[in-house]
Symmetry: C2
Subunit: 318 residues, 2 copies
């Protein structure tokens, strides 16, 4: 199929979602792809400003990400962190030397009063991309986990505590968050073909985006097809703590639960072929189902899943 005129907005978190984002980036014209990216995990570390999901998306799309970890850059060195450790600084968050430059650059630009959207555009360009990587917000939205250890921030939970504390609820702290102009423009684009929910953690990566009322409403009321790719295969999440989190919050781990979670926001859902038995329940929610192999590792598989997602949008639209 020819995708040269296809325009897509994707919602994306970090490592999991960026696999599909890469597939989309290689399938569509870059300028026709907008990726609204989670910033709920953003934090200050040693005084510099880190946007883990934006960084992962940029590194992945630019082809400079570390293929082993999924985060950070390939061929990375750790000289600065090693010396910081010698000096007794807190080095729980692993920042490589090349990666550090991005954080320093972003921090500098922030101090100069630039908006995160503008800074991200600058960085994206410098990495040779024409893709519209759009922070979900220019203002702070903090993903906070209510756990047995009290409320903890996302990075504390995810990196420092290795997702160990039991989570009862996920909260998004923000003072009156609004959709950015760039996000609104992307979602209101008359030529947009549809919206894709990447297979990121719905509770930790997509919900922060949807916690911004302006974004949620634009997607709810969208007249173009919206499809999600399930992050669940069987009773397990493809990546990260999704299934552990669902268990702790008393949600059955299944693609049906994800479909229910996104009900009213999506028209279609791609689930794994092995979960064919779930299809009927999802269809009953008013969500069309497409079966596929949703665990994608190679570049070809990522492009295949991206093409299937876009084709699904076009099928629903027709």
């Amino acid at each position: 199929m020819n995708y040269s005129d296809t325009k897509i907005v994707a919602l994306c978190g970090g490592i999991g979602g960026s696999k599909l984002a890469l597939g989309l980036n290689n399938t569509l014209k870059q300028k026709n792809l907008s990726i609204i990216t989670n910033t709920g995990d953003d934090f200050l570390y040693l005084g510099f400003y880190i946007c883990p999901d934006i960084d992962t998306v940029i590194y992945t799309l630019a082809g400079v990400s570390n293929p082993k970890t999924g985060w950070g850059r390939e061929d990375e060195t750790w000289k600065t962190l090693d010396v910081l450790k010698e000096l007794g600084a807190d080095t729980w968050f692993k920042v490589g030397d090349k990666d550090l430059a991005l954080h320093l650059f972003r921090s500098k630009e922030t101090r100069n009063g630039e908006l995160l959207t503008t800074i991200t555009r600058k960085i994206t360009k410098k990495f040779g991309l024409r893709t519209n990587i759009l922070p979900m917000s220019n203002h702070t939205v903090q993903t906070v986990l209510k756990t047995e250890d009290g409320e903890i921030s996302f990075q504390d939970y995810f990196v420092r505590k290795k997702c160990k504390p039991k989570v009862s609820k996920v909260i998004f702290k923000s003072k009156n968050p609004v959709a950015t102009d760039a996000v609104k423009k992307a979602l209101l684009d008359k030529n947009l073909n549809g919206v894709i929910f990447c297979p990121s953690n719905p509770f930790l990566s997509i919900d922060p985006i949807l916690s911004i009322d302006g974004i949620r409403k634009l997607i709810e009321n969208h007249n173009q097809p919206r499809v999600a790719i399930s992050p669940i295969v069987g009773q397990k999440s493809i990546k990260g703590p999704t299934s552990k989190l669902m268990n702790e919050m008393g949600i059955e781990v299944s693609s049906v639960s994800i479909a229910k979670h996104y009900q009213g926001l999506i028209d279609g859902m791609i689930i794994d072929r092995s979960d064919e038995k779930e299809a009927e329940k999802i269809t009953k929610l008013g969500i069309e189902v497409k079966l596929s192999k949703i665990i994608v590792n190679t570049k070809e598989e990522k492009m295949r899943l991206a093409e299937e997602s876009v084709n699904f949008i076009k099928e629903i639209d027709s």
Copy 2:
């Protein structure tokens, strides 16, 4: 000679002075050596706090400095700076990956409200030194050069403009600078044997220290011998822009001029053997003269000059 009980305070700038500082550090017991270090060149760069002279002294004494440049660390890499350059950031000041950690650590500690003296002590210890490396101030003192291009800051002059603009005057900008408790304690120590002015640039590296009235007065009124090592051999400075600066400010380039500059603050001066003809003029200023080879390159030469400086103090005292 046995130096195990000898206590010395040295005044020091960066590369030039730290050669003698290294000699003193290897000659005396480290805990008996206090080095009051120039902070007039300190600046914020990409949001982190750099103290070039303190860093140079620490790296030199810890044996991790770059022997080729005199600044920065040996076996350094430049990954962060390379990426910052790719991102379009201003990278006129060369910060290596290992070096960067020190600036990040200092910046973090500063944000936590720690005094520069405390931070420097922490860093010094972590580098395995027991030497008292003392910032001349815990507050900002900015060395500013009045030039044909207007007033420019030290780093702009020294690094960015490579000392090219003609200087008419050196100014130290500060709001009521006071001597730190640690500096006062070192200079008021009853067991102190004397004060050594390292062969740093008198106008750019030692004068900022002396611009702090509390320090100047303590040295002026000191009852122990104070000796300076001339940074001039013949009509040339050993290192850096001293002679160019002196010419521009209408000061004859000679050890006699340095002696005049320090008159009232020193009791003795070590000048190069080749400048023997100057000795009489300096003696007439009430300053004792010792001849030596003041260009020191090897560790042995640095220790030899350090020993001569300490011996000179003991001779004057006896």
